[in-house]
Point group: D3
Chain length 281, copies 6
């Protein structure tokens, strides 16, 4: 597991508090405290699963008597109707936790599914798909984990763990070279410095500034190919902007190292997953 | 504004902490503290805007010297290239807050845009589109607000503010009537009682139990029409499951009061919105 | 148990932090860490018990080695001298937790005792005693639970889970009908709408606005009787204001559905309960 | 003001969160955001006021545009109908904050009123009435402040700021002398050491152990008088247990320094206070 | 253990969050989750150990599978190379927790070591070394515990648990007598009153005001001796300011009761302690 | 300012809560609320100042009426007696905040002072002094800022923002090459990879694994010189372990890029700084 479970538990606490508030009036009034049952979590669509441990902890956070048995693993590809896990124990905990567990599992699996699709397209190329900071506020660690499970690579986790000098920084700072020099003087020596450029002049400046990574932002194929040739291994090359299932292979062919896609996390289609108690519909 | 700003601020605090961590190394090293600038927030696609006040508070949370001027209002329909707002003040605060502000604004506007599309389809019917609890964990108040801005109606906010007896409750409790009676005895008299049913037998039982609202879950058109006729005003009628842009009008024609759609919030396509400093690209 | 134990634990954490601060200097200095003992929790007055599980968790929060054995149940009527529970384990945890456990148990039992007295008076009437929002800030879930244990019914839990249009809202909004219409348009369809009125004109307006519940505030017997007749089952009827042990039956006879009493929670007489180690004095 | 306003604000935040939750649906739907009004806070019974600043901060926490004008001061004696304060500004903030503000003000004023009554009875004696740790969990700083405003003196604030060796400690530790010696060796030299005793033997032991304060717990008048004579100024004398309005003067006459009464805070009768907008009923 | 473990756990949580953030990228990527190992914690210098339980809880907070075996006890004197404890279990938890555990243990042991040195110098005198409020913000309970383990005594824990009227208070309040009288009237009767004075006039005033403790601040030997004679047992005598290993015995000979030294906690030399897995270097 | 002020405020809140607790009994009882005064903050020793803005916010957190005027800037070298700042406003806020403000300012200035001394020794070399993770738990951002103010460079901020493969990782992972390969595959591409080695074989392995930075841990001069020659610019070179004022220049002469010293933060000698009201002693 590549997740910091302390952060996961914080997210779960927030989610449960948001949903349960002063109490689940339906469950507390209709289900006696000593009734136990088993819930089946199953897929209603095809996809790649991510977040089973997260779903498990939603339930175990609600009751220490819950037994959760995963039947597949994160990263597994499943089909419609497959049972992903069973959750047994106090019926109250299962019914109260169901929605939060599914909300998280569906979102994470949706991200893993889409990432896996992109990664598959890139199988025969030395190019990785990477995520961005366009994640859902509050859920970044879960979403970046899902990208990784889907076969993608993570970009920086936030503003604090890498230098990425973007268009707006360059405008305000007064040029690429100046910005890179300032960053190098101030940031820890353990961080790489990435620069976002929009054309070949930018590439040239970034190379002269000795950037570790150059991000080609919204540049067309021809320009990207020229840039890769110009960079020639002196920095890692990342492309970004307007890339999707249809054109991703073209960029890979152009020889870039990394393709970052905000849509992996900002426009998620949740994987359809349900929980039924007693039997599967 | 129909938002509890205290909760909004908590969400923003969490989001900023997640993104900024120990500090925005890029901005702190490349932008001097006394530089000021103006950022233009503009649409790169057509849609309905929601969350301008939320975006504003991201920036004002970072610096008390920020001036935020909205040029449109929540609920306004905008087109590609329209400037939504300007944000002026310390360049550091603008660059550091940009991503969190856009992440929230894009998601909320995406939800409002889709809801507005559905609501428009329902214009000539006495049927409302409503949201569900399939929201992003931690962001429910924002997402339900966006649904409202888009012209939808909110369902309950959580497990604590209404009774909704679902399939799993009925199975464990041992029948609709028993479950409704227990809920009525225990829940505050101020809450309505809704029952989810899957067929006409369920409708009949729910009516006998005097449910306030009956949710027809995954029932086909014919069954829905029969149910509406059977209910005949004795309860409000909600349909749920498998409803989308293509069939929503059919359900409205069947005479239901409410159509709930999880996809409004669980599978959002973010509206494309950017921030540029100095000038608009 | 109809309590959300997560909220209970938060209350207990706050209470323990308030009382213990940097440490219980008396107990830490006079009692060695390995000494164990048994404390007897017993009633020093007659009443109805509520909160045993809350008391238990105070001690188990302080030490995982505590054994708590309840000898009565919440809702039981006890007499002076009755042992309610024994608590065995590390003497330090018992002595340090004693005051917080008793403070909560005494208050909750005081509320249950008074509510039970009122509920008993209403035994032969179709009228329920209900609580209000005049609870102790921070302890509402405990106090509303105690009302329920005493045989009362809960009103809404807060400003978020029901619409209650009061005198001040009506004045500012410009009339009952307008206020009800606005609330109906905006609030979730799952919430009932209650209106507070002060005279028969108000009742008439509330009926025309189709309020779900009408609260007769500070109206005299004659007016209440007239109101009940006028409402005639079209809405549920609640009375409030100036009601106590002496006149509660009169209101019940008048045919109201609900009688709300702030004094159940805002003017509590704690039930006298003590803890003695080793033996009972 | 003798209150730590940081703690007061934490209490207010908790109280507002408890009451408002996801939002005040009534006020947000019936009152437009730009409406302003004035509320009059007035007494409906006679008593001593405590907590005006606390009430003020409830409203100013909700809106920075609130103007709060106190017409009396904490400690003032007021009569039925007296206006205590006016609160002007956004109607939403006034209506949403009303209940929390009154809940706190009524409770604190109830405590101040009862304490003032006891303090008045003790006017001509060198005896002070003091509070205990039998306060409402979470509200101790407010309740101890109210006792002080009513003319009482505060006992220790918690388990951390003084040594009070009680009956149960003595039993477990194995005697008064041993317990006092251990406490003296371990506690900071800045804390006094108080011992609770139940008879004259206990007094003698406590004197030999050189306790700073001796608490006579549940001892009858004769024993108390003998104890005072025996102590003879070598320690301060506190009595506790079974003391009320009827017998408090007798204890004062017996020459004790301090009389502690749990009932000042555990069995409060809230002072009746209301808020009306626009005019006073 | 004289530590409130609830506060210790809060400190550990803060420390782990600070160090781990979104995750220990090195350990998570290089160490598989199922690898177990044993780490040896050993001294690289001579000193007195304090904080073993704190170190243990760092690891057990990270994994419930950790086994921690202390080979020495808090307060033991150890030499270079001595193994203090072994920690066995998941290698990830051991490597991730190592730094936080050592940071706390080294600091606490550094404080205990220096305190023990001072205490030893005072062995044959009726004088105790005490700490001050010059502790590391956030770590006071740990540092005061370490002083105690080293053989020192604790002064007050904060501004809330004793009255200490210092130079600046006296200047603003207008004199010692006035300040003491105000404090006596307002503070709980359970707190002692200490006054800081700078010369014999101050001592005289403090005695007349009947201060419980008199602190001689930055007074020379002669003055201290005169002060002790003048006080003559009517108050406890504390000296402070400019005291160190070289002159502490002189002050003890002068007959003071307490010597407070800020340097015990504000200028700590951490005791050198390491953790090696598998074997000891 | 290179500090994230949100984190600074959290530290200050924690520190004030720790020190003030339920209230500053001395100040609240001896100083009336409306008294104002001016405090002078001055150095009692020579050194480099860091943390003036932190000290300022301690006071402004306590009262919005505080005026703080810095007379020197962070990074300035000051001498005994120099006034660093004046703080004017409510005497209560000044006296209550004094200790926390000084505790932070003294520690930060102590760190800056020592770092500046080392940095000065390195003036004529291409070698930087850097900090470590051996910081005070909870205060890392302040201490790393102080190192920077003193002229040092920051190493990584925590376990989350760089890969540093240490001795213990290598042992458990089974060799340098394997560990580096795993880290490269899993960590974000934006992070550099540093490897700690103990001899020339380790250097060779690290070079073959293409580590970005090689840390020579506890190696003697000769070995360090050989290592620098072997590395020859293929990686940055850091030395660590047993380095101090006496030998730091030797290491610089050996041609290393970075010298990390735990003692900069784990064994701080606070700079002596005081606050006097009204006048400077």
């Amino acid at each position: 597991m590549l997740l910091n479970m302390r952060l996961v538990d914080e997210i779960i606490q927030t989610a449960l508090k948001e949903d349960i508030g002063t109490g689940d009036v339906t469950t507390m009034s209709t289900i006696p405290p000593d009734v136990t049952t088993t819930g089946f979590i199953y897929a209603k669509d095809d996809g790649v699963i991510a977040g089973l441990l997260v779903a498990e902890r939603v339930f175990t956070n609600l009751s220490s008597e819950i037994e959760f048995h995963a039947r597949v693993q994160d990263g597994d590809r499943v089909g419609r109707g497959d049972v992903l896990a069973t959750v047994s124990g106090p019926a109250r905990a299962i019914l109260t936790g169901e929605r939060v567990a599914l909300n998280l599992l569906q979102r994470m699996s949706g991200i893993a599914t889409r990432t896996a699709h992109i990664a598959e397209l890139l199988t025969y190329y030395n190019t990785m798909v990477v995520d961005t900071r366009k994640t859902t506020p509050g859920l970044r660690v879960l979403e970046k984990y899902a990208v990784k499970i889907g076969g993608g690579k993570n970009h920086r986790f936030g503003l604090y763990d890498a230098v990425l000098i973007k268009d707006n920084h360059i405008k305000v700072a007064g040029g690429i070279k100046k910005a890179v020099a300032m960053a190098r003087g101030s940031a820890p020596h353990t961080m790489k410095i990435e620069v976002e450029v929009e054309n070949l002049d930018g590439v040239r400046e970034a190379l002269e500034a000795r950037a570790d990574i150059i991000m080609l932002d919204n540049m067309d194929f021809t320009a990207v190919k020229d840039a890769v040739r110009m960079i020639n291994g002196q920095a890692r090359v990342e492309v970004s902007g307007g890339i999707n299932e249809d054109n991703v292979v073209e960029y890979a062919k152009a020889g870039v190292d990394l393709i970052s896609m905000g849509g992996l996390t900002h426009s998620v289609r949740a994987l359809d997953i349900s929980l039924d108690v007693g039997e599967i519909k």
